[in-house]
Amino acid sequence: MSQRDLVAELRAAHVEAPPEVRERVRLVAAGAPAPPRRFTWRRSLVVLVPVAAAIAATIVFTRPAEHQQTALEFGRPPVTLAPNVGAATDRAAKAFAVPSPKNRVQTYDATLSLRVERAHDVSDGVKRALRITTSLGGYSQSVHAETHGSSAVADLKLRIPRSRIQKAMAELAQIGTITDENVSTVDQTALLNNTDREIARLQKQVAALRTQPRSDENDRRIAALVTRIERLQRGEATTRRNAHYATVSLHLETPPVIVAQHKHGPLHGVGVALTWLGIGVVYALAIGAPGAVLLVLLWLGIRVVRRRRENALLQI
């Protein structure tokens, strides 16, 4: 008999369960409860995975961007940035519009801090400030400028005629955006009046001494008084000269680099989440991989032993 005939004969065989077995199985099956609704783990995953993804996406995308706000706070200048140069100029002119009566002598000190966009603008600003100063009849007392990569800073001390200070400040304010301004005036009129009175008093003493008969003692006193009068007159002249020029401290700088560093895109949160997820996966692999390998080896060993026992059992 060929193998094909053998299989055909085996397939033609019919095995039927005896009636008593059929009856027993029917009794068993009759006790089966009504089929409940089946919620398998696969079906549950079909619902749970999209829901979990939606919740995660909502958390990531609706979380307030704290970093961005902090960065803006850092980058915000002390005085509101005014991109409109005309408005800034007007404000500067108003700030420096300190009344200066012509019959009074006052010393004038101003501080002006400006922000420019690039390091190159700082260099240009220094040149422009010096040009404005000389065009108005003033001069620069000191200039200091530094550049570090994309950031730069410059400090200038300018002496400008008091009568033209308002125009000077208005033009200097156009170099950049005002971040700080300060004006200080000190009235020197009373001091000069006292000096004048002192000089007059000393001159009267000199005149009185000159009416007296000449002597060595008298000549010495007259010389001392004249020296004192000359010293007072020089001091008075210095004060009037200083009051003729206003001192302007000009500070130019570029914005802090920190603003650029803290600007994050809309997907920054996703990037951070994925980074931490990657770190977690690496740690999990480093810690869990040896354990997983051991478990797999154990499972394979158990399987081999079971298979051998089963084969031995079926060799009957």
Binding site: M1, S2, Q3, L6, V7, E9, L10, R11, A12, A13, H14, V15, E16, A17, P18, E20, V21, R22, R24, V25, R26, V28, A29, A30, G31, A32, P35, P36, R38, T40, R42, R307, E310, N311, L313, L314, Q315, I316
Partner: protein
């Protein structure tokens, strides 16, 4: 499909598989009942996406049969000391020649099992391999060996 429908449809398959596997009619009758009792308890675990009802019932039947073989082995070891086991006259199926019946009886339980699954129940190699817990290739190899053994036994008888 309800459990009652599954039991009604595949009772003969399960009985035939167990009868050929054990080559013992009385044991097969008992094991068939035990198989359906166990299947009823496990019915909530059955997933139609992972295989047919017949395959799943045969897997349950195999577990029951293996438990039976283990307990039988322990029992016969004890009893062989007292008296040798009696030869049981068993017919595998209606319509088989006496020579083929004898050749089948000479196969091991493992060989009869694969013949029952692949030939009697006409399962494909994948389904039979899933029940046996081996690869499809291994299953086909086992079947070929069993059939060759049957063929040789029939030649000897002829």
């Amino acid at each position: 499909m309800t459990f009652q429908q599954a039991a009604e449809a595949h009772l003969d398959d399960v009985y035939g598989y167990l009868a050929w596997f054990t080559s013992d009619r009385f044991a097969a009758e008992d094991l068939t009942a035990v198989t359906f009792e166990r299947a009823l308890r496990l019915w909530h675990r059955f997933d139609p996406d992972r295989g047919s009802v017949r395959t799943w019932l045969c897997q349950v039947a195999r577990t029951v049969a293996l438990d039976h073989f283990r307990s039988e082995r322990r029992r016969t070891r004890r009893e062989e000391l007292a008296a040798p086991p009696e030869a049981i006259d068993f017919r595998f199926a209606e319509g088989l020649s006496p020579d083929l019946e004898m050749a089948l009886a000479r196969l091991t339980a493992g060989e009869r099992e694969v013949v029952a699954l692949r030939v009697l129940l006409d399962l494909d190699a994948g389904a039979a391999a899933r029940i046996l817990g081996i690869s499809a290739t291994n299953c086909t190899t086992r079947l070929n060996r069993a059939l060759k053994k049957l063929e040789e036994a029939l030649h000897v008888a002829a």
